[in-house]
Subunit: 331 residues, 2 copies
Amino acid sequence: MTKSVLALLLCLPPMALAGPHAIVIHGGAGTILRDHMSAEVEAEYRRTLTKAVTAGHQVLAGGGNSSDAVIQAVLILEDSPLFNAGRGAVFTNAGQVELDASIMRGDDLNAGAVTGVKRVRSPILLAEQVMLNSPHVMLMGSGAESFAAAQKLEMVDNDYFHTKRRRDQLQQAIAREQNVSIPVPNDAYEVRKFSTVGAVALDANGTIAAATSTGGMTNKRYGRIGDSPIIGAGTYADNSACGISATGHGEYFIRAAVAYDICARVKYQGIDLAAASEAVINGTLQAMGGSGGVIGIDPAGEVVYSFNTPGMYRASIDTSGQLDVRIFRER
Amino acid sequence: MTKSVLALLLCLPPMALAGPHAIVIHGGAGTILRDHMSAEVEAEYRRTLTKAVTAGHQVLAGGGNSSDAVIQAVLILEDSPLFNAGRGAVFTNAGQVELDASIMRGDDLNAGAVTGVKRVRSPILLAEQVMLNSPHVMLMGSGAESFAAAQKLEMVDNDYFHTKRRRDQLQQAIAREQNVSIPVPNDAYEVRKFSTVGAVALDANGTIAAATSTGGMTNKRYGRIGDSPIIGAGTYADNSACGISATGHGEYFIRAAVAYDICARVKYQGIDLAAASEAVINGTLQAMGGSGGVIGIDPAGEVVYSFNTPGMYRASIDTSGQLDVRIFRER
């Protein structure tokens, strides 16, 4: 029996039967320490995280679906130069920005992902188009850009994504490789981290969606693909288990199939999402030497943060509407 | 206690304690029906499958490791124009061949994968180099080719991979898209199938390795990436659970994280590999509308074939040394 028929029988408006909704986001995990961060920079991160999680939550509160909610949150993180996604993404060895993103929804397990995109303003909107309007799940490089153009997405020059801070980071990375010492710029933002962004939401219809967007690793070369665009590694959503978005040293997340493994433990071991996430992030992944973390939501709207690094940029609005914004291990 | 110390204590040569070894390969799954296949073509497939599985088994029998065994088997399948991998791979919409491959080993969960490669003679050898000699797991396109050149792998013109049969298939596919009827060539090989190739082996040290190589889908465009180069979807290996190589409609295999899901069910549900494979291929995947199959090996060397299509090119040499070569559902 559908919910609306049931509502009719009970003489209640259908909305009264709507389930809980909640959203959680991340802006990357890593060596994020209070000692290294000025109050001003911290406030800037908290402001942007709050803005993003609130934008996603408004979609849910208005009866919108979880895919639209995670996209609205990720769009704000992509547009902010604070995070390694969209504008402000890290540089490749060749001095370009190459972006990856993926999205998945847990009702029909549909998904979309793109990798190595240089000219599409919003990689997450392109991943959404792949999910909605192509028979494929994953597209790469110039082919993905041709698809973006066919879908009338906004195209930009690669310069649009460039920031001085990230170019300085590339020069530092190249100098380290060559064992050359160059002056470290006085950059209050510079911390060792994997600042991929992501969001996971549960909507009132019980559908979970997860989305991830990134610029990958500073100084990457050889067309390296990390976990963010890999369904099962960086992103997964299944209404029967959980939704996950990951951030970290992508190679380990691929090898451990992190996002799917957490959902598999929930499904097959019957443990809760918090226990499953901890078992993977502070168990399997830690033992392999992989740094990073995940955010997740279960079908009841329970929100989880799990990471094995000193900090993770993260925020959530839970099923009671409570806003939580955190950066360091404790808060 | 190491095996060799134990062997010394028991006054036995170390070889006497070596574990079982076995190998299984596939050449794709699909609508492969005896009625559509001449005796000559069938014999040709059986000959090549036998040659490939035997080459892999010889590595194991000589004390070699499972990674080398799966590579030797896949090299023969890549070089044969019968299969959609390496020479004889299908054409993209742009009239090119773009190849994907991946390999993983189950002792340390190391892995390598490449996608969208046009000029590397053996994609599986490139995936191996990514696994062994790079800090990355996955490389794409021209970047992956630069890495191949740096590793001194054999480079070829894209023409090397081209066959008339596959060009005819592309013309058919384009005509179908345009609702134009063109004469179907009299091609005894033409059957609707996903003829990715793969191999999974267990060596005497108890290490499982899995490898997959493919040309993807005929008429693919927009830089489409299927499941074959995705660790967790087309390929997975974990000594504590199983090794898997998949073939089929890749988008479904990515969304269901097929290779990893089978290993997860073995690990977390405590069921055997045959039951786990059937639950995924004839359960989850079938329910989603996904066609294809997998081959697998468990830590005891038990070999599994599982598919939801009328046929799958497949062969194995089990722990007793018994050769098995099959094409259709029954044999």
